[in-house]
């Protein structure tokens, strides 16, 4: 398994400034969570996410990954809330303590539509944005470069971490460690695996930090960027308009509730 989901495509969505995409994602989430009707999420899905996915050329990957994540969640959601929703009144079918209610199904539809938007929009961001680009754009926008270092470094570290864990496990098995089939027993393997892993990985840390200090990691001077992030006036405007729309949705909804 690769360590990121990013798919390289020559599309307009890929070329957008990562900060613009992140702002759009947050605004979409605010809108669907502000309006408590399933059709609001449905409209966002059809009018924003599906066109963006088609333009980006990642529609297939989005459907596959989104389906893998969403299908189990939605099945559980409909079963649990459809059958046991606490506010259920209109009973459609009853079996012992379980009752299929209209309210429960409506609740599951509202929450489910939101989760669909939440998951698909964030997967789309990840599919169309390289983590490195996202980090450099956010650092340019004012995030501490320390966050960018940690995130980028982790993404590179995970594969080598896995390789190291595998070789430790093989070494322990060579000296007689049995890996049981029973999953609960398998937890016992954790100790002989973790101790050498932690010791080895953390011993490297000291050398790495010395190297980082020698290259001015702790310096607080303003840095220049090696590859400037693409940006445009339209995107700058969009980054102000989208939050305004999201805010409007919240204000309207709260106002509606008060009336």
């Amino acid at each position: 398994m690769s360590s990121t989901l990013y798919v390289e495509r020559p599309s307009a969505v890929h070329r957008l400034n990562p900060v613009t995409k992140l702002v759009a994602l947050l605004c979409v989430i605010v809108v669907v969570f502000a309006i408590p009707q399933w059709w609001a999420s449905g409209a966002v899905l059809l009018l924003v996410i599906v066109p963006a996915a088609v333009i980006s050329g990642c529609g297939g990957a989005l459907a596959r990954i989104g389906g893998q994540i969403l299908l189990p969640l939605l099945v559980v959601l409909v079963l649990v809330q459809g059958l046991t929703f606490p506010g259920g009144q209109t009973v459609l079918w009853r079996w012992g303590p379980l009752a299929l209610t209209t309210e429960g199904l409506m609740f599951a539809a509202t929450i489910g539509a939101r989760i669909v938007v939440l998951v698909l929009s964030s997967v789309l961001l990840v599919l169309t944005t390289h983590p490195g680009d996202l980090m450099s754009a956010l650092t340019e926008a004012g995030m501490s470069p320390r966050f960018a270092y940690i995130i980028s470094s982790t993404l590179q570290l995970i594969p080598s971490f896995r390789a190291r864990a595998d070789s430790i496990l093989l070494a322990q098995q060579a000296r007689g460690l049995a890996v049981p089939r029973n999953p609960v027993r398998r937890l016992g393997v954790l100790m002989p695996l973790l101790a050498p892993l932690v010791l080895g990985m953390f011993t490297d840390v000291e050398e790495r930090s010395t190297a980082m200090e020698a290259r001015g990691f702790g310096s607080t001077a303003k840095r220049t960027t090696l590859t400037p992030v693409r940006d445009s006036r339209a995107q700058k405007v969009a980054r102000w308009v989208m939050p305004a729309v999201a805010l409007l949705a919240v204000v309207l909804q709260v106002g509606w509730g008060l009336l």
């Binding site: 309210e103 929450i111 004012g142 995130i151 100790m191 973790l194 101790a195 000291e206 930090s209 509730g257």
Partner: protein, 267 residues
């Protein structure tokens, strides 16, 4: 926020960020717990879901922003290792299909070696990276990892890693808090359906007459304390198996005598 910080000049600003973030997280939780019954009767969970998401997100980001500048370069270099540990072990356990998560051992480890601020940054970035790479579902739960990192760090500072019977207690307590903080997220954002086993438990508690938030809280209280108890204990066992020379290299460990008095006179 520019990174113009060698701890001292911005110390009060960092403290204000951490305190402000903590207050927002607690206020969000209290608001949701107090207002929740009326929300459900009208079945409009709109504000509840939005408030859970926004309050927890803003709180977690503020705490992390206030914590990051306090860390030394060695600590920063250590955090990616801990995050990798969280993700790799967490995934391993998820694949095996155990009823626990074990996705916060790296957070506890870093918090015990380098303090609460390091734990907080490890926690939030674990879920950000996990969300960016494998599953966006963990993103709203970032605040829970922040709380775990913070509590583990203060537990280490308070000497709860000195005796073998103390880490399980600290872990169970952390688990109770984690369960309570995460309950509104699973209730109002995911409708109680965060996975097959947990979803079945939520349904069972609802069928027994619990509200949605009550059901997710009880489900959390069943699995989180056990999960954190195991995590804290395993971290303690791993650390006590490591040579003292390794542990005493960390300034936080020396300053607060996290593992008791250093055996060698060199302190």
């Amino acid at each position: 926020m520019t990174s113009s910080a060698t701890a001292t000049p911005n110390k009060s600003r960092n403290l204000a960020l951490v305190v402000g973030g903590t207050v927002i997280v607690l206020a969000t939780y209290l608001y949701l717990v107090i207002s929740q019954p009326t929300e459900l009767q009208t079945s409009s969970t709109a504000p509840a879901g939005l408030i859970a998401m926004a309050g927890y997100l803003v709180g977690a980001v503020l705490i992390a922003a206030g914590s990051i500048h306090r860390l030394s370069t060695t600590t920063i270099a250590m955090i990616p290792v801990a995050i990798a540990l969280n993700i790799v072990v967490g995934q391993l356990v998820a694949v095996i299909g155990l009823p626990v998560y074990l996705d916060s051992m790296g957070t506890v480890l870093v918090a015990a070696l380098a303090g609460p601020a390091a734990g907080v940054v490890t926690g939030i970035l674990t879920n950000v990276i996990w969300g960016l790479t494998l599953s966006p579902i963990v993103l709203p739960f970032a605040v829970v990892q922040v709380v775990i990192g913070m509590m583990a760090g203060y537990a280490a500072r308070g000497g709860l890693f000195r005796k073998p019977w103390l880490p399980p207690i600290a872990g169970a307590l952390t688990g109770v808090v984690a369960a309570m903080i995460s309950a509104p997220i699973s209730a109002f954002i995911f409708g109680g359906a965060t996975g097959g086993g947990t979803g079945a438990l939520v349904g069972m508690f609802q069928a027994m007459g619990q509200s949605l938030l009550g059901a997710t809280t009880m489900q959390g209280l069943l699995s989180d304390p056990l999960d954190k108890l195991i995590s804290f204990t395993v971290v303690y066992l791993v650390l006590s198996a490591l040579p003292a020379r390794f542990k005493q290299r960390f300034p936080f460990v020396r300053q607060y005598q996290v593992f008791g008095k250093a055996p060698a006179a060199k302190a």
